[in-house]
């Protein structure tokens, strides 16, 4: 039975490649963990030790002394939830309009929209800061959430998704007298679920990791996100790497937990977009 042998052969090869890939992906995380339980001296030693000489768990406690972890965790969760909810709603509405509604200048608007994608986000930093300042939102939660509630990328992504959906269901709904808002909410959104999940995942990851904007917009430690708070652990001349690694690992855990719980959705979503956060 040559065919069976062949298949086992391929599986073996594929598995080898996958195992190597998995090791490459896991290595930084493993290193992060190992560094987080080393002493300061050992963490900067060359050549480095792989396993810690003594397992020093106290670095995890020190994270909580160094930054207001609980508050920053909450800020990060609220920011991530707010941005994600905002993007799912607003991007899908805009995307639906661009995909299905007919209005004058639609394509011109869409082009204008796409041009936003071409501009590096650092360029928005100063104007965005000034807007937040005029609104009096600097150093507050709205400054973290509101500017991230909408994205040209999300709109583009969902528009392409809507375009790929058959028109029959909408037409049927329209015949039954549903207005565009109803069609959008009751017909299109349920159909667009894979697209929404994909956008949601990307937004969660992007928000959780966002560093520059939270750092610039907010000042007080208890108003910062984890990414910005952990960045302050990096000293000018001296960085306590074990504590920094312990903090970073703690900050990564929720994202890992979300992935484990929603593994299948995440994979489907990412496969759908063909991109990676």
């Amino acid at each position: 039975m040559p065919s069976r042998v062949d298949r086992r052969h391929t599986t073996w090869h594929v598995h080898l490649v996958l195992v190597v890939g998995a090791l490459v992906m896991v290595a930084p995380l493993a290193w992060e963990f190992l560094t987080s339980v080393k002493s300061f001296g050992e963490s900067v030693r060359v050549p480095p030790t792989i396993l810690p000489e003594t397992w020093d768990w106290s670095n995890y406690g020190k994270v909580f002394e160094a930054v207001p972890f609980g508050e920053q965790f909450l800020n990060t969760v609220l920011m991530t939830a707010g941005r994600t909810a905002g993007q799912l709603l607003m991007c899908s509405m805009a995307a639906y309009a661009f995909a299905r509604l007919r209005f004058p200048g639609r394509d011109a608007f869409f082009l204008l929209f796409l041009s936003v994608l071409m501009v590096p986000s650092q360029l928005f930093l100063i104007p965005q800061y000034q807007i937040m300042q005029e609104l009096g939102w600097l150093n507050s939660l709205p400054a973290l959430i509101v500017p991230g509630m909408f994205s040209a990328f999300g709109t583009f992504l969902l528009r392409q998704f809507f375009l790929s959906l058959p028109k029959d269901l909408e037409e049927a709904a329209a015949l039954d007298g549903a207005n565009p808002l109803r069609i959008y909410w009751h017909v299109m959104l349920p159909l667009a679920r894979p697209g929404l999940v994909a956008l949601g995942i990307l937004t969660v990851l992007w928000s959780w990791n966002d560093l520059l904007w939270p750092l610039v917009a907010n000042n007080d430690p208890e108003k910062m996100t984890l990414s910005a708070g952990l960045a302050t652990l990096k000293g000018e001349h001296l960085t306590d790497y074990p504590v920094l690694m312990a903090g970073s690992l703690l900050a990564t855990l929720p994202v890992i937990a979300v992935f484990v719980v929603m593994q299948r959705r995440v994979l489907e979503g990412i496969a759908f977009t063909g991109t990676k956060g």
Partner: protein, 418 residues
């Protein structure tokens, strides 16, 4: 005595403030002042200084805001552009003139006079560093000089005597040769391509210059300057007593030193806390003054506390910025061991914070110190130096040639400043 001093200062500033603002801005209500800093190690001291200030000014609340050094300037620049920078913030020499020339900073002369701070008690080079067009914008906060850190264990093993104040460049080369052991992957010294810690010092020791006194011309093509650069390049490529530039970009020289892979390391006074924290180094390292070239010289640099010109509470901001330069504040700061306080007589606490090292070496060099080279847009030409000098360090191109190209590039950048 301090109390009375402050009452006088307070009375004076209230009068001054009232006349300056025509009584429009009342500062009787509670006032919050933000104070931006970038070094985590110093935050406890800064909070203590803030608390001390609040004791004397019950209506003022000073909030210390920490941003890591890497992101500090991006954030400050954004906030300045937006018109809402912190009321008081740390400033360094290379960036000072840029901010002062743009009108971002508040002149502090009146407050300094009112508080009767003796500016003669600070190293003169540092007071000058933060003076722009005759106005003082900040009192020196701290300073750092460079020292020769060495690994006693490696010296003992090689039977080489420890560095001392009489060492010359030749002594260093000689010792580095004896301390190099290729079999063990051990080198005598780390000839890093760092401006402040390495080549600026040897440039000045050779009698060269980086920027002319009027700040208009580069000194990189001066033969003496080239000699100061060649010192390092030869240690790597000729004597082979230092790791290559490639190795040093893979592993930081400080890490090689703390791991016993290099025996000598030019490092700032700021290294003391980090070495003290590293249990691997207990009893193993110490520091000596830099070996001299044609003459003694070391780079000195220090930060300053400056006030924001558009602060909503300019009086309080200026008062706090000046207070942070007062002897009592400087004493509190020195206790952390992180930085040397700038006010004369407040350095003892710094020496005592990490007594295991002969830190006096850093203070003894102050009389021969040269300020860190700077101009209005320092970053523009230091970037060129960083890029171009790598070619000399790697041995790809001769130092003289690189220095010539570099001098031209720096002159162009300096020409763009005006």
């Amino acid at each position: 005595m301090n109390n009375r001093w402050w009452k006088v200062a307070l009375a004076a500033t209230v009068v001054l403030g009232a006349s300056a603002c025509g009584g429009a801005a009342s500062s009787d209500g509670p006032v919050t002042i933000t104070y931006a800093v970038w070094d985590k190690e110093q935050v406890p001291a800064m909070e203590k200084i803030a608390a001390e200030f609040e004791k004397a000014h019950s209506n003022v609340d000073v909030k210390v805001q920490l941003t890591s050094n890497k992101e500090y300037w991006t954030k400050l620049q954004t906030a300045v552009t937006g018109g809402s920078a912190p009321d008081v913030f740390w400033m360094n020499g290379p960036r000072f003139q840029l901010y002062a020339s743009q009108g971002v900073l508040l002149p502090l002369d009146e407050q300094i006079d009112a508080a009767k701070v003796d500016t003669g008690a600070f190293p003169e080079a540092l007071v000058d560093l933060y003076t722009y067009q005759g106005k003082k914008y900040g009192l020196p906060k701290d300073f750092d000089t460079i020292g020769l850190w060495y690994n006693k264990t490696l010296f003992d093993a090689a039977g080489v005597g420890y560095p001392d104040a009489n060492w010359t460049w030749d002594d260093l080369r000689e010792a580095a040769r004896k301390l190099t052991d290729p079999a063990k992957g051990q080198y005598g010294i780390a000839a890093a391509a760092d401006s402040q810690a390495n080549y600026y010092n040897t440039i000045f020791q050779a009698g060269g210059s980086v920027i002319s006194a009027d700040g208009k011309k580069s000194g990189f093509d001066d033969p003496a300057t080239v000699e100061g650069l060649r010192f390092w390049v030869d240690l790597i490529n000729k004597d082979k007593v230092s790791p290559t530039i490639q190795q040093m970009s893979d592993t930081e020289p400080a890490q090689m030193f703390s791991s016993g892979k290099v025996a000598m390391y030019y490092g700032g006074s700021w290294e003391a806390v980090g070495f003290a924290k590293n249990a691997d180094l207990t009893g193993k390292v110490d520091v000596a003054p830099l070996p001299k070239g044609k003459k003694e010289a070391v780079v000195i640099h220090g930060l300053s506390n400056v006030a924001y010109a558009k602060s909503k509470h300019p009086e309080e901001a200026a008062r706090f910025a000046v207070f942070a330069g007062s002897p009592e504040a400087q004493r509190i700061q020195a206790e952390t061991g992180a930085v040397i306080s700038a006010y004369q007589g407040t350095q003892d606490a710094w020496l005592k914070a990490t007594p295991q090292y002969r830190l006096q070496a850093f203070l003894d060099q102050v009389p021969d110190s040269v300020p860190l080279p700077h101009s209005k847009n320092t970053a523009a030409w230091t970037k060129k130096a960083e890029e171009l000098l790598l070619k000399a360090w790697s041995g790809e191109q001769d130092v003289t040639e690189v220095a010539k190209t570099l001098a031209e590039a720096v002159n162009t950048e300096l020409g763009n400043e005006k």
